[in-house]
């Protein structure tokens, strides 16, 4: 948890990100990704980024812009079929791509957030995605050892933040955002609305404020 004022302009927020960073970005398809942060990141021209995300939007749209702009060095994620430019860039050797089963990917991000270095999952055992990974039997079934996925920065999208930075989400825009919030060294949240501290029900806060370093408001 940083000390300074969490509520920054998008320019101030972007100034926190360096070229070559490992950046987690929330979202699934075009739902629940931090649209303005991604636009600003694309406009920044920062290069050599490792982007950790479920997918990469569509060609030239959303996270897709980062690839179109040549800002990406490596991808760690799950599903790039919605953006054929990814397979193309990979085939041409312009980017590295690490694919994980979606559930293992999500759990590996959560593992980073909770200080678990590795865990076992049955998904992908014996398949091409488990090549080079350790496996182990438990009760006669083969499991793959998956490692935690950490990041320097997480760019996430939430619905509302209160004055401390507690977050709640909106419908299926929640997806990877809460787990990424806690898995990166610096978390920048883009929110639709800022409400007074105390206005969110303590039982319904999804991301406690200590996981959130910077908040920007969607214009």
């Amino acid at each position: 948890m940083r000390d300074q004022n969490k509520f920054l302009s998008i320019e101030q927020a972007l100034a926190e990100i360096k070229a070559g960073s490992r950046i987690m970005i929330g979202g699934f398809g075009l739902a629940g990704y931090p649209e303005q942060l991604v636009e600003a990141l694309a406009a920044s021209g920062l290069r050599d980024l490792t982007i950790i995300s479920n997918d990469l939007g569509s060609p030239g749209v959303g996270l897709g812009k980062l690839l179109t702009n040549g800002q990406i060095k490596a991808l760690i994620g799950n599903y790039y079929n919605w953006n054929p430019e990814v397979a193309e860039a990979y085939a041409e050797g312009r980017i590295q791509v690490t694919l994980l089963p979606q559930g293992s990917f999500a759990e590996a991000i959560r593992a980073a957030s909770v200080g678990i270095p590795a865990f076992y999952s049955a998904a992908s055992a014996g398949t091409d995605l488990a090549v080079g990974k350790e496996t182990r039997e438990f009760s006669g079934r083969t499991y793959v050892l998956e490692r935690a996925i950490h990041a320097d920065v997480a760019l996430i999208k939430a619905h509302k933040a209160d004055g401390l930075g507690n977050l709640v989400y909106y419908k299926t825009a929640r997806n990877f955002n809460p787990i990424m919030a806690a898995a990166a060294a610096l978390t920048i949240a883009e929110v639709d609305e800022i409400v007074p501290t105390g206005a969110l029900d303590p039982e319904s806060i999804v991301t406690p404020h200590i996981f959130v370093d910077v908040i920007i408001r969607s214009a």
Partner: protein
């Protein structure tokens, strides 16, 4: 070869037949539906206590949204705008796959490039260099209690999709429980592929020719009804 069952009819038949698989159980179920034909199953299970889970973080997914209902932030895992059902809930992706991996989803309905006679399934990638994505397929086939494949019997080129041994990258090993095509319904029973139902358009001989995988024929072989 000539098409035995027109595409659209085939797709509806497969979706309806899979729906019947659930309706006949006549109990509360939680299911996850893949894109394409599997999503069409939704249309045939309305009004029953069958709860649809979407791996992008929702339980109780309703029908596809109408034009005037579209909310870009409320989508299924195929990125289609959907609606809510009463008592639905939202959760993050780790919790969602926890539900799947933890054996809390009764069935996953998925498409496939190939299913082989060992129950192996290849459905995550066509290694043509144009795809790069796995989605939740591997988690779903290993995590769901029951794996139901809904796919057309033949590829567009007319080759068998039920094969002796998958040639494409495997998604999961010996995980498939039921395969429903427009030409037949096959159950994996005691590690053998058993034909339970056959389409009215084909003879057993024709189906055998169109099915590379070895299968046995149930003593109770019936005509597919939907």
């Amino acid at each position: 070869m000539t098409t035995l069952v027109p595409d659209s009819e085939a797709r509806v038949r497969i979706a309806r037949r899979i729906a019947r698989e659930f309706l006949e159980q006549n109990r509360k179920l939680v299911i996850n539906l893949g894109v394409g034909i599997p999503t069409m199953v939704t249309n045939y299970i309305q009004g029953r206590d069958i709860f649809i889970q979407a791996e992008n973080g929702m339980l109780g997914v309703g029908r596809l949204a109408g034009e005037d209902e579209i909310d870009r932030q409320l989508i299924n895992a195929g990125r289609q705008p959907v609606t809510e059902t009463p008592g639905c809930s939202y959760f993050d992706s780790a919790a969602s796959f926890g539900m799947i991996r933890g054996r809390h989803v009764d069935a996953t309905v998925i498409g496939a490039f190939e299913v082989d006679q060992e129950g192996n399934i290849a459905n995550w990638i066509n290694p043509n260099g144009k795809q790069l994505g796995v989605g939740g397929a591997m988690d779903l086939v290993t995590g769901a209690k029951q794996v139901i494949v809904g796919m057309q019997h033949l590829t567009r080129d007319g080759t068998a999709k039920l094969v002796k041994r998958c040639s494409m990258p495997i998604t999961g090993f010996a995980e498939v429980d039921i395969v429903v095509t427009e030409l037949g319904v096959f159950y994996f029973t005691d590690a053998r592929l058993v034909l339970q139902e056959i389409a009215p358009e084909v003879s057993l001989e024709t189906l055998t020719v169109l099915t590379e995988a070895q299968f046995v024929v149930s003593r109770n072989l019936k005509t597919i009804t939907v």
